[in-house]
Structure formats: structure tokens, C-alpha cells
Amino acid sequence: MSTHEPLTSSTATKVDERGRLSRLARHPVTRFVLVRGILHTLVVLVGVVVVTFGLILLVPGDPVRIALGTRYSPETYDALRAASGLDQPVPLQLLHYLGHAFTGDLGVSFRSGEPVTTLLLERLPATASLALAGVLVGLLIALPAGIWSALREGRLADAIIRVTSQVGVSVPDFWMGILLITLFSSTLGWLPSSGYTPFSEDPAGWFKSLVLPAVTVGLVAGSIMTRYVRSAVLEVLASGWVRTARSKGLGERVVLRRHVLRNAVVPVVTIVGIQMATLLGGVIVVEVVFAWPGLGRLTYEAVAARDYPLIQGAVLLMGALFLLINLAVDVLYAVADPRIRQR
């Protein structure tokens, strides 16, 4: 939509880019979508907290005893039990957990005794930068490949892209990581095989340490997204308005840009959101392979140490992030689609 000058004095239906978001927030329908989205997210979020809490009930036996192993004093045992609230009846525990969770208190780690929230937030930047970089690499692959494949439907290029993307979807990401390390670190020695350099310490080192894990994650994410981009573009290509656009004698590039890609953006944003959420919680094994100090590795260590509060915290955080990303996608939908925006 253009930033055109007003034609008439009536500005009721006029839309321009700059004022759009603020006007949207005031628009009754968008507000309705927003409020409904937030309500839905809250309901599911409560469910997520309940499930997370329920995890510890599934532990066969006494979680504190299992966590402490064989050598512990009764004092340590009682202290840990009391600190994690496990000495209280279950319904009360749930209420406490719910209340604390919504204030950001996820209990203390069995292992280190530090607050779970602190531990998680320490590791979040590493994972977030990996997930973001992965989605970026993925998009760099998926957008051109998916669009090209759709435009060449049924031809050789399409077949090659489709089979290649199938291979990409089927590759175990940790195996890909091992192969990349073998090639680029052990053999060629171009890039570090593992570890993480914080951006604040050494931007170049940060980038170097990020390349291999990001490519590993991005190749798989890119393959998945290629398939979605392809089908989204194909669907729009088959629509009546694309035929109309062609019947106007518009150049293929204009048709593609204005009538195909623009309309395919909405479904593509969804899959990017889902990929982002998936990567945030799904790069566990890649983090282990690259010794990446993110949430995934933290969770892995927590599992090994039977640090149940930490496991719960990680699961909860990822579930909540997924829901927030989804909510953001829903709001983007409302911004992008006039059928939702103005009724």
C-alpha cells in the first residue's frame, strides 16, 4: 500500500505505512484479534505450566533422593526438599509453582543451588544467536530455492530442489555438524570446531564460532522452509488474481512481486515463526556437538545430573517462547491481511 496523498477529505479508509501500527492497535477488530490471541495464549500458557509441573510427579520414586545420589546427609536432603517445596501436598505445590512461574521464579537448581531463572537467562543469548543465525541461513536458502522451485513446477530444477530439500529434511543435524567439523576444522582448519566466543569480547571470534553451528542448523531449517515456501507460492500462483494480473499484460516480475510473493508472505511468516521457536528449543544435540554453551547443553547437563527444577525451567521457558512467537505471528497476520484488519 502506497503512501499516497489524500484524494478526498475523507480519511477514514486511508492507510499509510508509518501510522499503521499505532492505528492498528486502536482499531476495534485488530484489538479483538489481539485480545483473543492474548487470552488464548494465556490459557495455553497455564496448561504449559501445569504440564511442566506435572513432569516431576512422573519421576518414579523421590526426585530429591534420586538427584542427590547415594551420599547425602539428612540435613541436605531436608533443606533441598524444603527449598523446592516438595514437602508440601501436591495441589499446594502446583499452586505455588503456578504463582512463582508467572512471577519468573522457577525454583532453585538441585545441583548448584542457584535460581533456575538466572541459569536459564545466562544461557539464552547463546541459543538465541544460534537460532536467529540458523533461521537467517535457512531463509537465505529457502526463499530463492522455494520460489524458484514453485516457478519451475514440474521441471528439472523443481525436481532437483525438491529431492535436495528432502535430503536436507532427512539429515540428522548432529551428523551434519560432525561432518562439517571433520571437513572445516579437523581437515581444513578454517574454523573452530567448538566453543562460543561472546560478541562483547571478540566480534570476529563470535562470528567464526557461530558459522559452523549456524550452517548446520540453517541447512536443515532451510530445507524445511523451502518446502513451505514452495507450496505457499504454488498456491498463490494458482489463484484467480494472478491470472487477472497476467491478463493485464503485466511483466512477470511485477506479477511475481506484487501479486504472488506479497500474498505468499503471510503463510511464510508462520513457518518462519515456527522454525524460530523450534530452533530455540531444538538445537540441543547441535549444541552438544559444538560444545555451545546454550540452553540445549544446559538441559542436557541437567538431565544427566537429574536436576529436575532446571529441566522443568528449560521446558517451561521454551514452551512459553513458542507461544509468544506464535502470538507475534498472529498479530503480524492481522497487520498484513486487510481481510482481518478491516471488516
Partner: protein
Amino acid sequence: MTDAIETRQDPADDVVPVAERGPGTLRLLLRNPVSLVGSVVLLVVVLAALVGPWIAPYGVNDTDVSRALQGPSGAHWFGTDDLGRDVFSRVLVASRVSVEVALVSVGIALVVGVGVGLVSGYLGGITDGVLMRVVDVVFAFPVLLLALAIVAVLGPGLTSAMIAIGVVYTPIFARVARASTLSVRSEPYVQASRTMGTGNTYVVWHHVLPNISGPVIVQTSLSLAFAILSEAALSFLGLGVQPPRPSWGRMLFDAQDFVGVAWWLSVFPGAAILLTTLAFNLVGDGLGQVLDPKRRTQLAAQAGGR
């Protein structure tokens, strides 16, 4: 007056000759070279899973340190590991546990998910609202993380892995089944059946189930692929299949210590995972095309035109 003219004028008749049914699903599937390759690979994997232990040239845990870390050769096709165990035999035998975990876990997800989706989509209303919120909750957790947490809680092992993978793939089946049920439910043939006074059980059994089977079958094939990957990831982390039983994921984990020294340790188990997953994906993709009624007429037309 007969319907002779009418038969010939119908657009559908231009595509599918009235007297014959057109090629069967399997024939259409195998006509596509990509699906054909996928099916053949799948067949090989299933065979390996069935007879692997009997045809493996070496015992999976026969150690022979004098032969440790040898590259691929006539005696050891895939080389040997640090304990001198034959990698080929281990990869071959490990196929069974992978397929086993995938089948059982997807079976769990299929039964529970389709059940929930069917009930939810068919009954609608409050039942639908509640069931779908539950599904949303489970869906909110990243697959591997939730599986990891479940295994952590239940304790590592095969059964835990199966349950965990089954749980995390249930929501997707529920969603697929619900969406298909919703669309089938509003089909005129279901409405027609309702106006006759047909009971819910009859409608679900005779109209809904047969007509949602296509998407569910496709989802099953795709989920089997992802279940193979998830099992490999869990085993890689030491939470799935436990030694001494060989598994592809664990073999890859052990191979990490020999990166740059013995490439065969990581290449072959990984390739086995890739091929199996790929085969399930290709077959699922092919089934998706063949079972989609719109695509099917197209494919049948092309098949008939040649």
C-alpha cells in the same frame, strides 16, 4: 433416452474413462521414480531390520583390539571402531531397534492422536475447545526438548524413548485428523447421511474414517521419518537405546572422539539414519500426491496419456 451423451460430455470422463478405475494407488506411487527409489530403500531397511542379526558377518560386540580403527576393506566393509568391532555389522543390526522404536512410538501417536482429533473435529463445541487446548499445550513444547524431559523423568531406556517420541508426535496427528474430520464433516455426503437419521458411530466409521485416511497415512509416513531422527538424537545423548545394544545415534556419539582420525565411524551410521529417514519422507511425499484426489486425477491423466 439413455445417458450415452451425458456420459461422454462429463468433464471427469475426459480424464478417467468411465469403465475402468484408473491405476491403483500403489501403481501410481511406483510410477514416480523418486517414490520408487524411496520404496526400494525402505524395503531394504525393513529387510535389514528383520534379518540383520542373522546375516551380519561379525557379532556386534565382538571386540578385537588388534583390528581397532581400520578403514573400510574387503573384510570390514565399513571399517572397525576403536574396540575393533565391525561397523557394518553394527549398522546393520542397529536398524532393527530404530525401526522398532519408530513403529511403536508412531503407533502410539497415531492411535491417540487420530482418536482425539476425530472426536474433537466431529463433536465440535466445548469438547473440541478443551481437547484442542490440551493439544496446543503439548504442541507448544519443542519436540526434542519435551522428549528429553520425559526420558529424563522416566529414566533412560528403550521404553521411555518410545513413550516420549509417541507423546511428542501425538499433537500433529490430532491436528491432521481434526482438520480432515472438519472438512469431511461438512461434505454433502455426510449431511445427506445425517438427514437419513444416521447415528454418529455409523457416520464416523463409514464416512469420516475412510475419507480422512489419506492425510493420516501421509502423516504416518512423515512421522516415521522424524521418529527415526528423534530416536537417533536421544540415543546420541545416551538416553535412548542403551549399550551393549548398538544404535546409530550412539555410534555417532562415540565417533566424535575420532573426528579427523576415522571418518568411517561417523559417515556410515549417519548415512544409515539419513537413508532411512529419506526413504520414509520420499514415500510420504509420494503418497501425499497420490492420495490427494485433485493431484490423483492429474497423475492418472498423465499416466493414461502416455
